[in-house]
Each structure stands twice: as C-alpha cells, then as structure tokens.
C-alpha cells in the first residue's frame, strides 16, 4: 500500500526529526530526550506498528515540531489550497474550452494556428517562471496585486484574501489551460471528423447547431477524464506556486515538514492529498457516466 512505501521512503532519508527541535549547544542528554519524545529512538518495526494503528483509527497524530494536531493544521491550510486549486481550475476551463474548440474549428485560419502555437509555448514554460514573471510585472512594477503572502485573518477578510490569491490563480490557470486546450482541441477535431456530425448536417442542421447538440456531449467524455487528472495535478502543483507566492497552503506545509523530517505532518499531508486525488477521480468518473449514458449501461450489465 501507498502508506508502506511512504513510511519506508521517509525512514530512508538521512537525518532525524528530533534535530529540528534541538539546536547547536544542546548536549547529548537533551538530544536523547528529544528522540525519545518523537519516538525516533524506537526500532523501526515498532514505529511502523504505531504508524499503521493510528492511521487505522484515522488519527493523523500530532506534529513533532509544532506540537499541533496534524489534522487541524491541514484543515487550516486547505482553506488556502482548495480555493486556489478550484478557482484556477475553473478559470483554466473557461479559457481552454472556447479557445480549444475555436482552434479546432478554425484550424485553417491564422488565429486557429496561433492559439495552438501559444498553447504549445504554455506547456513548455515551467509554472514557477510564470509566477515570477507575473510578480515582477503586476506586483513589483505595476503594484496592482501583492507579491505574496496571505492575510492573517484569512477568509475573514474575503477581499484581501482574493486579492492575495489573484496572481497565483492566474499563474496556475495560464499553465494549466495550455495543456487543457490541447485536449479540447483534439477532442473537437475527433468530433468534427465523426459520422454522426456529418449525418446531422445532412439532415439539415446548421454547423454550430450540430456541434452544440451532438458535439459537445460526445467530445466532453474524454475531456472530463482528463479534467479529473488535471485537477489532481493542479492540487499537487500548488506546492510550487505556494512557494513562489508564500501562501500558507498544504504544499508549503509539506515542504517544511520534509525539511524538518516531521513525519506525522508529511504522512498527514500525503494521506489527505491522496484522498483528495482519489475523490477527484471518483467524481470525474461519475461526471462521465452522467454525460454519457453508454458508460452507465456498460457498468450495469455483465460483459460478454
């Protein structure tokens, strides 16, 4: 299982979680006491048994370093990561779907080609670089948005919070819409070349009407499954963006925890994010079935 791999990999890292607690000047007795406290002096099988049993009770434990319950910290940080992920995702969809369809339908025009060239470029650029560029332009030079950080009161100050998330959202959405756009484009191309569209046109419906009535529903099925994967990627990619914009989200919690070898925090974050990714996959599946009745029947009947 994933948790076993996780446990083993973490213990293979050199270092000790107790090191984050003691500093230069501490004597041997203090170091030993710290190791006892975090349990890193126990034999590995015992540590593992403890890890699995608390996971089974859905108890993510308490951070070695900050002494706060892991779950509380994660929930506080989800209030940054979840809105960040969802809003960027929505924005990316809003950008990618119309432009993707347009670039497929008007592939013979100059702008159809231009859109797909730009999207290629978008895939090639790393997300942190886009972030740094946007900060330089909109925060440092134009002073329109903060260069990073999150208001101390969080969503208690909704306007400030949104302002703080604005550039990170644009950053993720730009990069994500580039790859999404290519899927939309190729799905649209498939639809354009399909028999049912030709038949619909032959029966007298206009091009856009045929595309909207028959194309979108058919084209949406592969795109939705990609959307699910992309959403999961965004969640994980938030690590980088949160770092660039100094946002107190799940990603920065994970990075810090790895630096400090704070095992409960690392395990907690990875557990929750795995859970979220699985949930997203599940909902993407549900959405596909809802869009395409054929998938529902397939699942219901026994296959020959």
């Amino acid at each position: 299982m994933a948790s076993v791999v996780l446990f083993v990999l973490l213990r293979l890292l050199p270092g000790d979680p107790a090191n984050a607690l003691v500093s230069v000047g501490a004597d041997q007795a203090q170091i030993e006491a710290a190791r006892r406290e975090v349990g890193s002096d126990l034999p590995l099988p015992q540590q593992f048994a403890h890890f699995i049993s608390s996971l089974a009770r859905f108890d993510l434990g308490t951070s070695f370093v900050s002494r706060t319950p892991v779950l509380d910290d994660i929930i506080a940080r989800l209030s940054v990561t979840v809105p960040l992920t969802l809003l960027s995702f929505l924005l990316a969809v809003v950008i990618a779907v119309p432009f993707g369809i347009l670039s497929a339908v008007k592939a013979d025009r100059w702008y159809g080609g231009a859109i797909s060239v730009v999207s290629q470029l978008g895939i090639a650029i790393p997300v942190f670089w886009v972030g740094i560029l946007l900060v330089t332009l909109f925060a440092v030079n134009l002073r329109l948005f903060p260069s990073g950080g999150f208001p101390p009161r969080g969503w208690g100050a909704p306007f400030e919070a949104l302002r703080a998330l604005f550039l990170p959202i644009i950053t993720i959405a730009l990069v994500m819409s580039a790859s999404l756009l290519r899927y939309v484009r190729s799905a649209t191309q498939d639809v354009l070349g399909s028999d049912y569209l030709r038949t619909a046109r032959a029966l007298g419906s206009g091009f856009s009407e045929a595309l909207v009535r028959h194309g979108i529903r058919n084209g949406a099925v592969p795109v939705v499954s990609i959307l699910g994967i992309e959403l999961a990627t965004t969640l994980l990619g938030a690590v980088v963006v949160e770092r660039v914009f100094t946002l107190p989200g799940l990603g920065s919690m994970l990075l810090l925890a790895i630096e400090q070898r704070d095992y409960p925090n690392i395990q907690g974050v990875l557990f929750i994010s795995t859970l979220l990714v699985l949930l997203i996959g599940f909902f993407a599946d549900l959405a596909q079935r809802w869009i395409d009745p054929r998938l529902r029947e397939k699942a219901g009947s026994v296959r020959r």
Binding site: G15, V22, S147, G149
Partner: protein, 505 residues
C-alpha cells in the same frame, strides 16, 4: 480600525492648524514630516518563522525574534546595545561567596491571562528551562543552579553550586511564564507589552498591545511578523509596501535596489553570526596546529567577504565578535599569506598537500563559500571535495556523530566562545589550558576577572587556529523611510518591536 485612524487624523489636522496660527512663522512642513502615527500596525518581514511558540520546546531562533521582550520578559533583558539590564527583577543582590542571588520582583506585574506575577512563576519558569525534556540551548549554562526558594511573593532566592558570573546574562534567555499556563506551544502567557493575537502557520504572527502592561505602552498599535521562505519574496514584499521592515537581510544581491532608493533606509548593525570553517580537530591532518594555521593563511578572507557582501560585514580573527566583552582584534594572527601557508604545510609533513571532504550545508552562503575555499586551497596543494548536505543531516552526522573532516556552519549566538571549552563539542578542540580558563572564568568573582580570562582563552584559540573564522555576517535591517525606532543589532536574533513608529501618511 480605519475609523479611529481617520479621527486621529482630524485631530492632528486640528492641532496642526492651531500650531500654524500660533507659530505662523515656523514651517509646518517639519511638523507634518515628524508626526508619527500611534495607530499604525508595524508589519515586519522575516525569514524565520518559529516552529512552535515555546523556546524550551525547540521553537528555533524565530521565536526569540518575535517573542523576546515583546511577549515574554525575563528577570533581565539583553538590550540591543549588548547591555544586560534588570527587567522583571526590580533589584538583586549577590552574596559575598557568589552562591546566593536574591531577586526582588517588579510590583504590579500581571500576565496576559490576568494572573499576577509571583515568585512561584519565576521558580516554575527557571525550572522549565533546566528540566529533563527541555530543548533550550542554554540549559547547560544554568546547570549550576542548585535550588530556588520563594520566601514571599516578590522574592526569589537562587542558590548555586558554584559561582556563576554570567547568571544575570543567562537569565535573559529565561522567559517568565505563568505557572498555570496550559498551552505554551501554540499559545502564550507572558508579561510583555504585547499579547499574541493570532498565529497563522506558514504565514504570520500578529501581536497586539496588552492593555494592562506594567511598563510603558508600545509606541505602535501592534505588530505583525510576516514570514517568507525565500529572500526574493521577502524583498518584493518590502518593495511593494506589503511589509514595513525586514529584520535581517540575507541576500547581498538585493541590497542595491534599496540603497539607491530614497523610499528605503538601509541600516547596518553589529552582528554575532560567524561563518566558520570548522575542522574536526580530533582527526589527521587537522589535529596538527600547523595544518590549521596553513589553511587560515591560504584563504583570502577579505576577498571572500567582499565578493559575497561588498562593503558590508567584518573580518574576525577568532570566534569572538566585537560585541562580546572579551573581544580582541586578532585578525593579524594568521593573515593571508599563501607562501607561509605552503611552508607550514611542508613543516607539518604535507609538502604535497592532502585531500579532504568539506561537508557543506545546502543553503546560502555555504555552497559559495565552499567553492571559494576549494579554489583558494587548491593554490597551496590541498584538494577539497565538496559534499552538500541538508541542515537536518548536518545535525545528525556532524553535530552528533562527529563523522566529518571539515564543515561550514554559521554560528549565530552571542557569547558562545564557551563552545571551545567543551572538548566534546563537534569540532573536538581540546586545549586543557582553554578548558580551564573558560571553566574558571565562569566562577570569577568580578566581571573584570571574567573578561581577562576569556580574553586570554580567545588569544589561545586564535593562536591555535582552532577553527577557520572566515567572517562575521553583516546585520542589515532595511525599512521603508517612514519607519524608525527599531533595533539594529539583532543580538541573539531578538527584535524588540515596542519602540517602532511609522510616520503618518
């Protein structure tokens, strides 16, 4: 908040108008410029977020920055000037044999929870630091405390097993906390001018003035420490006005953008952070004094410092920075001289040089320093292999296991020459004379005697080239031009916020 500010502004305008009527001849421009805004909240930018809020539970240096003197106070306080002054102790007496200290507490002090300060709280607080599971790096320096008595509510008697001349200094590290406080890792209960308002992990700590503070109220209406993980992000925050001040600039390249800009003020204070090339003095060839001296002479430290920090920073000839009372200028003990370095190596039997591994922490400035050391030592025939490790690995491999030949490390503390008096310390320097001097300096009857002994120890470690002391980091505080009243020295990472003011806009 905004509302009160507006009202105050009206008040100020009124005042200014009256002043103009009365003293029409005097320019009002000056009055406007000098007006500070008492309702301002000071936003401080820092790279050091505390890991938790308890300095005996491994919170890291960030907690000293945010809480020392701001939220918690000690019996004594280490001022920005390096002076130790009584804080919660109104007065104290030392017995003639130096083994009994009697402290009288300030009257009418209350904790943020409303509980009054009593001698029992002081006893509890000191015992917390020396407790078995305490992670305080100063635990050892308080080990001479044999017992604490509380004859009445305002008197604390500390009995020592032997003289300890630095007791008042060491007590500046001991926060006085309420003995009834239950949660000190994510909450607080101190006596300082500010109380904790909110801590958003990974982002910020906000402090607001404590209304029942026993001393002078802060000059501002609160402070927020904003935490960053990257120096660039922190600089951007100051550039864009998201923070008012940066506690300690760690990226030399970024200074230019503030220096040439009248909207910012760059202040250089005294630092205690030393960049140290520490050898494992237990192992060959570093057990040989000549080899260590040769390395010291082979490295052009002036060039290293200026290539990293330009005109900032200071060269040091030993582990003692100018702010420690036992500082002596020892930069000429082993000046840059590659020829004599080669000669020393030959005398030590390494005419053809040797090879060693330099364990290099993966964060700035160590990797750059390692490369510089590598190229300098190559010129005298010593080959350096650089091995990059994380801070966490450093602690296990080098600090605990002593499994290394040489390493780079920054040592941040004030008055930490005592490390050279501990032969079990990671660098394994063992000179019985120094051990004796450092141990006996602590039991000195007077400060003059203590200073004399430590000066001598200081000279010996420099003569022995016990480690390579490459340079003293500069301590640079950058603020926007309207902000004043902040500490510039950052001794022991402290950052007293109560005097900071911001000009009204």
């Amino acid at each position: 908040m905004t509302r009160t500010r507006h009202r105050r502004d009206h008040g100020l305008q009124l005042l200014a108008a009256t002043a103009m009527l009365v003293l029409a001849a005097f320019g009002h421009a000056k009055a406007q410029e000098g007006e500070t805004d008492p309702s301002a909240v000071i936003r401080i930018g820092s790279l050091y977020e505390p890991q938790n809020l308890d300095n005996t539970a491994g919170a890291g240096q960030g907690i000293n920055e945010a809480f020392n003197g701001n939220v918690y106070e000690g019996l004594f306080q280490l001022e920005d000037s390096g002076e130790v002054v009584p804080k919660l102790a109104l007065d104290y007496q030392m017995s003639d044999d130096g083994l009994t200290y009697t402290f009288t507490l300030q009257p009418d002090v209350t904790f943020h929870s409303g509980d009054p300060l009593t001698s029992a709280d002081v006893k509890y607080s000191i015992e917390r630091v020396v407790a078995e599971n305490s992670k305080s790096s100063r635990k050892k320096s308080l080990s001479t405390i044999a017992g604490i008595e509380t004859p009445d509510d305002r008197t604390v008697v500390v009995k020592l097993s032997e003289r300890s001349i630095s007791l008042p200094y060491n007590l500046t590290y001991v926060w006085i906390v309420n003995d009834k406080a239950t949660d000190l890792t994510s909450g607080e209960d101190g006596t300082g001018p500010y109380r904790l308002d909110a801590w958003r992990r990974g982002s910020s700590i906000s402090l607001v003035p404590f209304d029942d503070y026993w001393g002078d109220a802060p000059a501002n209406s609160g402070v927020t420490f904003n935490y960053f993980t990257e120096a660039t992000a922190l600089n951007n925050a100051l550039l864009t006005g998201a923070v008012d001040i940066i506690t300690s600039v760690q990226s030399p390249d970024s200074l230019a953008q503030f220096q040439d800009n009248p909207a910012f003020v760059v202040e250089e204070g005294q630092s205690t952070t030393k960049e140290v090339l520490a050898y494992n003095d237990r192992v060959e060839p570093f057990s040989n004094v000549k080899v260590r001296k040769a390395i010291a002479r082979a490295i052009d430290r002036q060039r290293l410092l200026s290539s990293i920090w330009g005109d900032y920073g200071t060269l040091i000839g030993s582990f003692v920075p100018p702010t420690d009372p036992w500082y002596v200028d020892l930069t000429n003990v082993d000046p840059y001289d590659p020829e004599s370095a080669k000669q020393l190596l030959a005398e030590a039997g390494y005419a053809d040089g040797f090879t060693f591994t330099l364990e290099t922490p993966n964060y700035d400035p160590h990797p750059i320093v390692a490369q510089f050391v590598q190229s300098e030592l190559a010129k005298v025939g010593i080959k350096v292999n650089i091995n990059i490790i994380t801070a966490n690995e450093w602690y296990t491999k080098i600090y605990q296991a002593h499994d290394f030949q040489a390493t780079l490390q920054e040592h941040v503390n004030h008055r930490d020459i005592v490390f050279y008096g501990n032969p079990d310390f990671y660098w394994g320097y063992n000179n019985p004379k120094v051990v004796e001097l450092i141990a006996s300096s602590e039991t000195s009857a007077s400060e003059a005697e203590q200073v004399e002994k430590l000066k001598e120890a200081n000279r010996i470690i420099a003569e022995d080239a016990a480690s390579g002391w490459l340079y003293l980091y500069p301590q640079i505080v950058v603020s926007s031009a309207g902000v004043s009243g902040y500490p510039v020295n950052g001794l022991n990472s402290q950052f007293f916020a109560y005097g900071i003011t911001k000009r009204a806009e």
